[in-house]
Symmetry: C2
Subunit: 352 residues, 2 copies
DNA sequence: TTTAGCACTCGAGATATTTGAGTGCTAATT
DNA sequence: AATTAGCACTCAAATATCTCGAGTGCTAAA
């Protein structure tokens, strides 16, 4: 544990650097209220903090800059989370679309809100639940040879996709389809449905195989889309404005463009139990993010499904303000989605 | 009309500059095959071309760079459209999703293909047709208090949105809804449906108003989404790589992020009759695009609906290759979408 | 009309100079 | 033992100076 004065100095360096982006010198700290020692004393302490790895110098004759360990110590031990102001709360709330019951849409708009609020890039995943099952599948004929297939999962995810059929859609075909769906899909976990399963099913249909095949393939598409926890990223262009990305902005955006690493980034957050996770610099395991931090918070729907939402930005970000903001947003999302979910579940059971 | 030799020099300057990005000097032109005159002669011609405004010098002792008028003259008079190679055709074709009948999805994937193929940003609009009407609306109950509303327009646009109702969805309610839809929406032009119309309708429903209201509002949302020709942009991060955007990349991306100007950019292309439009530098009316060019091509569905797809990049782009590529892509899109459309229309009429 | 020749221009790159914020160390002070 | 004043030192950033050469425009001869 650092002695109090050293803590105070570290905190001051982190906070001032977050604010100004310039290396912090001993004199500017001395002039801060509450610092009644000389700059030489501060320099001695700074030398210690440097030896301990919490701060570093860009070059010998410059001030100090927090290292990622400095940020980490600050976040874990020194930072005082800011109280959100009323208008900030309102701004965050306004970003959540209470009305629609569709989690994807809600997360998309919430992400946009985060982008506006933080000026960083926002990242979110749709809820995933390894025990999710298919609650409902409907076929909607919209024109003679085109139908829309709509699927609802136990998690509340709603997916739909158009499907052109080779033969005209008649009542008979619809009934066949609905029977197939009832027998083979409703109530089954998403993980059960895959290409092989679909092919076997098609093979067993005999004469009806031809007409059913495109519809069933579309179901497989929907299941896949619902299983993969989709990662949504927005506000990337905000990052261009930060001078820490001057040179590497292109690389970073390219990296964020690829889906796989994003998925890993968000999903790997499940190994801790805390509901909010802060990853500073190389704590994100990707080299492309060594100068970036993520604040990721998990939301829950009911007791099983979880997803995450958060931000990506330069390590120099205002942790003490952002962390409570994201916490607050996540609480709202959890509440809204759980409400919808429970309402559905209750009603569903009443029906039986 | 420029004398032949001057044309030849202008074309060579444009082409070499497009390739290298460096100002083109008289000597490097002289060494090109087919130039049998001295560098002094070329310099004289270049002086003329400069006076005419087709080329300019970054500074007195540098080579020449095409002005936007130079590019324009080149595109209009000098350029020889490249023949697409077999593998290029295949790459373009591979980007078009023949199977799904959904124009939006098709355009999205085609845009991605353009991004990969050209390394620029791609822009596209969904088809719009001022005479479009509602062909079909279906309500799909997916859970006790949630329904999916699906709408198909005469243009083939398929839109769907979830809607939570305040009361449980029963057969009675579905019938009421379907009657309402048949009487008030099917066959009516999209432009007829607006908030006022919906409100009047709701008001006339008496006791049923409460249960119908959220469903009808959702229809309004769908109609709006289908009327507004949505602009899709992708591959913006490609632009970061071009040195002409070194400084202004952020501004450009911010600009492209906003929806309104994009809409104007694409829709204003309707004033010419040609099916492909090339806008160089300030011919795009926005200051943010003064160093950019767009190649935008219109596609058609049947005889009425049109939309556009194209690219945005630095004025220094390979027009002679890109123009035929985009033309080719647009032809494919038009053909696929028109096929679907006609098939639908024919079948629809057979039905009657 | 074309071309060889030449003086001229000016950006890019290399090198030198200056400046000042900030440091670490030492020796005196508390 | 902890603090501080004082001072020599360091080094990036800003500024100035120099050199180089690609490319030009012009002139006078072919």
């Amino acid at each position: 544990m650092l002695p109090p004065r050293r803590q105070k100095i570290l905190a001051a360096i982190v906070e001032q650097y977050i604010e100004t982006g310039e290396p912090v010198g001993s004199k500017s700290l001395m002039s801060l209220p509450g610092f009644d020692v000389s700059s030489a004393t501060i320099r001695n302490e700074m030398a210690e903090l440097t030896a301990l790895g919490f701060i570093s110098q860009p070059h010998t004759s410059a001030g100090r800059v927090p290292t990622q360990y400095g940020y980490r110590y600050y976040v874990d031990n020194l930072m005082q989370p800011a109280e959100l102001e009323e208008n900030e709360r309102r701004r965050i709330e306004a970003g959540v679309d209470y009305r629609s019951g569709d989690p994807e849409q809600l997360l998309a708009t919430a992400g946009e809100a985060l982008v506006d609020f933080t000026n960083f890039a926002a990242i979110s995943t749709t809820p995933s639940d390894e025990h999710a099952f298919i609650k409902n599948i409907e076929m909607v004929p919209v024109s003679p040879k085109m139908a829309m297939i709509v699927m609802l999962t136990s998690t509340g995810i709603l997916k739909s996709k158009a499907c052109r059929t080779d033969v005209p859609i008649v009542v008979d075909l619809q009934e066949t389809f609905q029977n197939l769906v009832n027998q083979n899909f409703i109530g089954r976990p998403l993980s059960d449905i895959n290409t092989v399963m679909i092919q076997t099913l098609v093979a067993s249909l005999g004469a009806k195989a031809l007409s059913m095949s495109p519809l069933l393939v579309t179901i497989a598409d929907l299941v896949e889309a619902a299983s993969i926890s989709e990662v949504n990223l927005s506000g990337q262009s905000n990052l261009l404005g930060y001078k820490e990305y001057n040179e590497t902005a292109g690389q970073l955006l390219d990296f964020l463009h690829r889906d796989e690493p994003l998925n890993m980034l968000v999903s790997s957050s499940s190994d801790t139990d805390s509901d909010i996770e802060i990853r500073i610099g190389s704590e994100n395991r990707f080299k492309e993010l060594e100068n970036s931090s993520m604040i990721i918070s998990k939301y829950k729907i009911g007791d099983n499904a979880t997803g995450a939402i958060g931000i990506i930005g330069p390590t120099r970000m205002n942790y003490s303000k952002l962390i409570p903001s994201i916490k607050y947003l996540t609480d709202i999302i959890s509440r809204v989605l759980s409400d919808v979910y429970e309402e559905e579940t209750d009603l569903g059971e009443e029906e039986n």
